[in-house]
Amino acid sequence: MTARAPAPHPVITFIVRRLIATVFLLIVVSMITFAIFFLLPRLAGQTTRGLASQYIGRNPTPAAVHAIEQQLGLDAPLPVQYGRFLRGIVLGEHFNAGTSKAYCPPPCFGYSFKNQQPVWPMMVSGLPVTISLAAGAAILWLVGGVAIGVISALRRGTLFDRFSMGVALAGVSLPIFFTGLIALELFSYKWPIFPNVQFVPFTQNPLLWARNLVLPWIVLAFLYAALYARLTRAGMLETMSEDYIRTARAKGLPERTVIFKHGLRAALTPIVTIFGMDIGLLLGGAILTEVTFSLHGLGLFTVEAIQNQDLPEILGVTLLAAFFIVIANLVVDVLYAVVDPRVRR
């Protein structure tokens, strides 16, 4: 091969390219989301008048409905509304909320007229809860799942393997609202080891933060750890029968090096992908866990928004969730290029 030209590191070029693509992807996602919530209802026969009347009390006068239509900008063509929405994200927006005028500072993801507040700060206030929940559970399930998977693969057919795979099957099959309620019943009420589970900000009291999150973490991690244990076990079984493992042994490497440096390294690559996607998904709201434990994160916020049919809230939280998934995707792709040299070009 000829000497390499002084080009930027291939991973850097890769990241830059992906970042640019990500921006476009997010714009497309926002268009689709916007269309789902504003175009589809129209196609289904919903009029702007009907939409507006949701914001007024009973028996609205046509004049009042018309006023609301104008205030909310619902009478404008959809592209204009979408443009306003985008402008609001960047520049902020003024809203006419009935008697008072409300300013929604950037990034403005709309204004919830039902809660009389801008959407963004409400979402942001739920974020620490969701992040705390997802991060703690992720560490638990990644460490636990991979460790159990590796041991199961190396001791295939033993009692440990059968037992842990049996438990894993249960973990994958049992829904969180079941395991969560059992955990609450046993460890919060019957034996109050973790009584009064509620979110305490980390900055306020780290110890209480952790103590109150232990149950949700375990319940959420149980589901994922089961999945990861099975994945890791399958991956390890496959890699450990690869030719390069035989080569590693033929070199006279200690078995530990063979297993971890050569075996696990290769088996972990697909796990990285799934891990990134799962984190991205969870950051958009761990709905079942948050509802079960009444943790006011993004998931619970979403559920309430849907129950209230609060369109700006639903739109905002959908976009935010999409954002997390797209970013997680990006991180996974970059990680992949770091982990697997064959992906780099």
Binding site: T247, R249, A250, G252, P254, A266, P341
Partner: protein, 352 residues
Amino acid sequence: MPDTLLDVADLRIHFPTSDGLVKAVDGISFSLERGQTLGIVGESGSGKSVTSLGIMGLHHGTNAQITGHIKLDGEELVGATPGRVRELRGSKMAMIFQDPLSSLHPYYTIGAQIAEAYLVHNQVGKKVAHKHAIDLLGRVGIPQPASRADDYPHQFSGGMRQRAMIAMALSCDPELLIADEPTTALDVTVQAQILDLIWDLQQEYHSAVIIITHDLGVVAELSDDILVMYAGRMAEYGSAEDTFDQPGHPYTWGLLASMPRIDEARLERLVPIKGTPPSLINVPSGCAFHPRCRYAGFTGGRSQTEVPELREVSPGHLAACHLTGDQRRKFRTELVLEETEASTARMTQGEA
């Protein structure tokens, strides 16, 4: 006094499976001196690769049952602790595998993988090991080894990868080098280069080499001795000249007839050996080759009932066959005549 490095005696490697006992290797004996090359030849499933894995101790972790003796430089390897065999592996004995792409780890650079082999057996720093890896890459004929050492296996061509595998095997100057089908996955043009390289390096290091192959052509030039295996047993064992010039086993005759040769003028048609290699669970009674052997009817039923023992067909040249010496000479002469006549007839036809 012969300088024996490897002495294998009555080696048996059996694998119990739910279908029955697989006798992958069933009583193999040979010895190998320093600087010498042994070619182990046989069809797929004849036990040649299992033999090599058994010598390397790579059957550990499987449920293999291994008996007999493997003495490397006087040290018994059968029953040795896995730790001891691991120390010898990569340092005193090394191995090259069939498919260099799948045998190299896709996530580590070539240089790192070679250096790793050196590091594990020598008390040196990473820089020294890396430099050693670059030296080795240069010695196996990789141009610009210093920059190529930072490449990954997928950036190498097939021949280059096998060169890198050889460099890795040579990293600790092994006294025994086992090459398991080293050229099977390579282009024909590259095959000769790799064999030449193995030959050159053997002269340089004076190591003992075992080449395992199903291709007699590969071992014809390189080997001093040839061991022909069939169904986990020895069919024939002798010097390369004896085995090629006076093959003593009908199976070897078949192998020779099915081998293309360009060094002989006659345009002989390749004759495949009829039938398929036997199952290693239900090995045919008597001589394992008898269902496929056209001479099995001339031994008075012994081929079907009695496992033939290795007998000297000429000094130092062993074959496991019930045919008497006279029968063997007669049939071999007939066979050669038959083949010559057939090819002459075809040539005449072609001219007419």
